[in-house]
């Protein structure tokens, strides 16, 4: 089937490394502080340090540099586009002009600054998803939002839904694929024609899919309650999250780096 083949699902790359072994809570908090740090950069040259930092974390996570840099591919066009807009449309003293397009020194500085900032934000964010499995992330988010539970925030419910969603996405994709093949075997023509024709041929795929999903919810809910699922209260875990000293060290380091770098940025340059 050409619809769902070669689908890379999620970005997580399982390896044994310092970064992979960290508590997901520490990684989420660390990433948020690093992203804030990138956001606070004022001078383009400071990005060099941030780039160096990215390389160090990549090295510690035992992932290939190619993989990390490749994760920015989907936004590359956006990065280039943003940089070009700035290069051509920022005012200032023009260096040279091609027709009505004027390129100024300020424009080039601004273009490079915006492009690199965008790129670094995407790269630091993908470090998190490359080194943390989606389920770990869901658990981490649940734990981080748990203090809001007394205020009525449904941290457990959201995390449980997230876990179910993550668990069933591959199953649902398989299911979709199977129904599509069944309809193709009956002579359906799914990948030709304009929007209306395609849409019409998808109806016999979608209706069984939706019916199956809402039926399966019933089975799964019964299975969970047979195992005494009663919501989040008093529920124990097979692998409880453990915040170790190294997590504290890593998170504090991130925070300190962000503060230090933005201080340098503002006072020295």
């Amino acid at each position: 089937m050409k619809f769902l083949n070669h689908l890379t699902f999620g970005q997580y790359v399982p390896t044994e490394s310092l970064i992979h072994a960290m508590d997901p809570r520490a990684k989420i908090l660390g990433t948020v502080s690093l992203l804030t740090g990138v956001f606070l950069v004022e001078h383009p040259s400071a990005f060099l340090i941030w780039f160096f930092l990215l390389m160090i974390i990549t090295f510690l996570s035992k992932l290939s540099y190619r993989l990390i840099l490749g994760s920015a591919r989907p936004v590359l066009i956006l990065v280039i586009f943003t940089a070009l807009i700035h290069i051509f449309f920022t005012g200032g003293t023009p260096l040279f002009a091609i027709g009505f397009l004027k390129i100024s020194r300020e424009g080039i500085t601004m273009g490079v600054y915006m492009g690199i900032r965008l790129l670094l934000l995407v790269l630091f964010a993908s470090l998190l998803t490359l080194t943390t499995s989606p389920i770990e992330l869901a658990d981490g988010l649940e734990a981080l939002f748990a203090p809001l539970k007394p205020l009525g925030f449904p941290a457990h419910e959201l995390a449980m839904m997230m876990t179910i969603a993550l668990r069933f996405i591959p199953t649902l994709l398989d299911e979709t694929d199977r129904i599509m093949k069944a309809q193709l075997a009956r002579g359906a023509d799914l990948d030709r024609g304009g929007l209306i024709k395609r849409l019409r041929s998808f109806i016999p795929v979608l209706i069984p899919l939706f019916v199956i999903v809402f039926q399966r919810a019933d089975d799964l809910a019964i299975a969970m309650e047979s195992r005494c699922y009663k919501g989040g209260k008093g529920r124990t875990r097979m692998d409880p999250l453990e915040w170790s000293i190294s997590d504290s060290v890593a998170f504090t380091t991130c925070l300190a780096l962000v503060l230090f770098l933005s201080w340098i940025d503002r006072s020295i340059w």
């Binding site: 807009i85 069933f168 019916v211 309650e225």
Partner: protein, 166 residues
């Protein structure tokens, strides 16, 4: 069976189906956005369980999409394009009859979330003087309006069959 567990499980599955359907591009627009059916499971879920559940399932779908390879270029953009954009689909649960009204409400609010996110993105990344509202509305509307039309047609085909299942 407790209604609560059922609601939770169905929400998880609806979010999962939304993500699965987002991989199934029915039609790719020339300028980037694509027509998919990701809104449909969440809209139907909101119509079945109301606003609160629908909002929760939407937030979950947004977070999962973010985890599985979304991109972050601005803190407000991350919230608006993922958890909020999908969460507001839950507003469909406020107007459950006729179903098209709820779906229209939910999808329109999602469009608003994306437009705002686009405006914030351009406000911090584009030079001053660009008409960001117009651009963002045209870009996001170009795929969200066909998405709505598609969801509406399919919802009217699927809704009666789901009623039969119960």
């Amino acid at each position: 069976m407790q209604n609560r567990t059922r609601m939770l499980v169905e929400g998880g599955l609806a979010a999962g189906l939304a993500i699965a359907l987002s991989y199934l591009r029915i039609f790719r627009m020339p300028q980037g956005g694509s027509v998919t059916l990701e809104n449909l499971p969440l809209l139907i879920y909101a119509l079945r369980w109301g606003f609160k559940g629908g909002f929760g399932a939407g937030v979950v779908a947004g977070l999962v999409q973010l985890i599985l390879g979304g991109y972050v270029v601005h803190p407000a953009q991350a919230l608006l394009d993922y958890p909020i954009a999908f969460g507001v689909l839950g507003f469909a649960g406020l107007v459950r009859k006729p179903i098209w009204a709820g779906m229209l409400l939910g999808t329109s609010l999602r469009l608003v979330a994306h437009i705002l996110s686009g405006v914030i993105f351009f406000a911090s990344y584009a030079p001053e003087g660009t008409n960001v509202w117009l651009y963002s509305t045209i870009y996001n509307g170009s795929y969200m309006v066909p998405n709505l039309a598609l969801s509406l047609i399919l919802a009217y085909l699927i809704w009666p069959r789901l009623k039969k299942v119960e």
